[in-house]
């Protein structure tokens, strides 16, 4: 069998992610309805816990750039679901037929999970994010001289009035320490000396 393309595998993963969240929400919000339908009353807390697991897995799949691990997590969850459902196959369970249908459904989704996990693993490959040998951009300064010599080369630029630091927030000692304009001690502009 041909495995799906990388794009198809990722789309399938997203679909499974949303399915996981949907199922999880249903399990968290309506565990009693589910257990009643399966004739497995008394397992509501377990179903709720499984719902939280489904939601977490779904979020993990949707928010990860590499969802394969989360998909395999789903496969593990499917096994757990099937093991739990198998306990409902006792002859005295009047809803045994429903349990069998649920088992078949989980098995089908588990097969999809496996196909998706295998496809993602097959297309994962080494990510060519960076070259193995580092690219040397260490001389790309854009300056005609070493950066240290260019420091302040544009001090002739006058910052527009609307973008200047409010006078009250300027460094307090600039005026006296460097001779540059500011509200420095000993050089405070009229009306700017702190009064309280």
């Amino acid at each position: 069998m041909d495995t799906p393309s990388a794009d198809t595998a990722h789309s399938m993963a997203r679909g499974l992610g949303w399915f996981s969240i949907g199922l999880g929400v249903a399990e968290v919000l309506a565990p009693r309805a589910l257990t009643r339908c399966l004739g497995m009353g008394g397992n509501e807390q377990l179903v709720r816990a499984y719902g939280l697991r489904e939601i977490a897995t779904g979020i993990g799949i949707l928010s990860s750039d590499k969802p394969a691990a989360w998909i395999w997590g789903r496969v593990g969850g499917d096994a757990l679901d099937m093991a739990t459902l198998a306990t409902g196959l006792q002859p005295d369970n009047p809803k045994k037929d429903n349990v069998e249908m649920a088992l078949a459904a989980v098995a089908g989704v588990a097969a999809l999970d496996v196909v998706c996990g295998v496809s993602l693993a097959r297309h994962a490959g080494p990510k060519p994010r960076r070259r193995l040998t580092a690219i040397d951009y260490g001389r790309r300064s854009g300056f005609p001289k070493p950066a240290e010599q260019m420091r302040g080369a544009a001090r002739d630029f006058e910052v527009p009035r609307d973008m200047r630091t409010p006078e009250a927030l300027r460094p307090f000692l600039i005026g006296s320490a460097t001779g540059l304009p500011g509200t420095g001690l000993g050089g405070a502009a009229p009306g700017t000396t702190p009064s309280n």
């Binding site: 979020i59 040397d136 854009g142 630029f157």
Partner: protein, 391 residues
């Protein structure tokens, strides 16, 4: 003509589309000689910005030759002139333009009703950047219609400057410059720059030229950090060390006076708690942006310091530590770039040889190869920092 068109998230194609024509007396048609993929194009590519439609022509960083001019722009432009086109479309006449606030031009956005609903009031029209900003076809194409062309251009003098030396006057160079300028850098200042992509690189050089005592660059891509270092920055690799601890170490425990976010809405922050939180919420469509950098800046910035935000954000941000910002008395300046406010000065600096912005170009390809380069640039593959396309 050929053009790079958006067809959905991660789906850019080189299509045949109708040639543009003069639609208004103030229009001009430009034959594009060089264009670039901007970091903010990646927000469209990834599908995080609302308002894109199938078939929209991408690109807002481009230059070329004037091939047709509408009658109302003939006083300002002539056929054959070489121009860089600013990404913000400006009328030059409204109250905001007259104040120099070109990125919030009140007239150039032809979808101002939509923008008004989204942002409260309209902002300027932009090339190739969603229907919120006018839905104007962009410059990753063979030809572009430039509205308000008598004002929306930067003339390139005929003195031998190459396309790559002046192309970035249309966006990333003035964007980096404004990011630094609005910090009002003092000679005693430490300026921390988050993000060493193209805008971050221009910001670092601008902060050095404007005389910052110390510039610190933050990223996790080694070749980008090396480029930042070449531009005069001390570097922090956030995969290897704590940004907050290192910034405090480098500033005597007081934090940087000026913090610049050159990252924007798609911050990657390794496995930090808030990064995972943002990723989950964004995935579930409960949050539009991942504002890790803004949180970190507000936390680490020195009291009474300044935050400058040239990085693009699109919508609603969650868990912003506004208490820290308010109690520390931080000044926050942000916005799209008022390109034409800075370009005369920056062009002079390029002509005088003070800086050559072409240092940032790492990949040059034909327009047809553009779709593949979006992925290369997005994934930072092959040392990609800046892509220039030739139609």
């Amino acid at each position: 003509m050929k053009a790079l068109c958006w067809h959905g998230p991660k789906d850019i194609r080189c299509d045949q589309v109708p040639d543009p024509r003069i639609e208004h007396p103030r229009d001009a048609i430009i034959k594009v000689t060089s264009c670039a993929i901007c970091g903010s194009d990646l927000h469209l590519y990834d599908g995080y910005m609302p308002g894109m439609e199938n078939g929209d022509v991408m690109g807002h960083e481009f230059m070329g030759e004037v091939v047709d001019v509408g009658p109302a722009s003939k006083h300002a432009l002539k056929v054959g002139e070489r121009v860089v086109i600013p990404f913000t479309i400006i009328c030059g006449e409204c109250e905001q333009c007259r104040r120099g606030n070109f990125s919030v031009c009140e007239r150039s956005n032809r979808n101002k009703d939509v923008a008004g609903k989204m942002f409260g009031h309209t902002t300027a029209g932009l090339f190739g950047y969603t229907h919120l900003t006018g839905g104007y076809p962009g410059g990753q194409a063979e030809y572009v219609r430039v509205p308000y062309a008598d004002k929306t251009h930067i003339k390139v003098p005929s003195n031998g400057l190459s396309d790559e030396q002046v192309l970035f006057l249309g966006d990333i160079f003035p964007t980096g410059w404004q990011a630094a300028v609005q910090c009002d850098i003092q000679p005693t200042d430490t300026v921390a720059v988050w993000g060493c992509g193209p805008v971050g690189q221009m910001t670092i050089r601008s902060a050095i030229l404007l005389g910052a005592k110390q510039v610190i660059a933050i990223d996790d891509v080694p070749e980008r950090l090396a480029m930042a270092q070449a531009g005069g920055a001390t570097t922090i690799n956030f995969d290897e060390e704590s940004v907050v601890e290192r910034l405090n170490d480098l500033t005597g425990g007081k934090g940087p006076e000026k913090c610049i976010d050159a990252v924007g809405m798609e911050a990657h922050a390794g496995g930090s708690f808030d990064a995972v939180y943002d990723k989950v919420k964004q995935t579930l469509m409960l949050e539009t942006d991942r504002p890790h950098v803004i949180r970190e800046m507000m936390y680490v910035c020195r009291p009474a310091g300044t935050l400058s935000i040239p990085g693009v954000y699109g919508g609603l941000l969650d868990k912003i530590p506004f208490g820290a910002a308010m109690n520390k008395g931080l000044t926050i300046r942000m916005g799209q770039t008022h390109v034409n406010r800075w370009t005369d000065d920056l062009l002079r600096r390029i002509e005088e040889g003070q800086i050559d912005p072409s240092f940032v170009v790492t990949h040059r390809v034909d327009l047809e190869d553009g779709p593949g380069m979006y992925k290369t640039f997005r994934d930072k593959e092959d040392g990609c920092v800046k892509v220039v396309l030739t139609p």
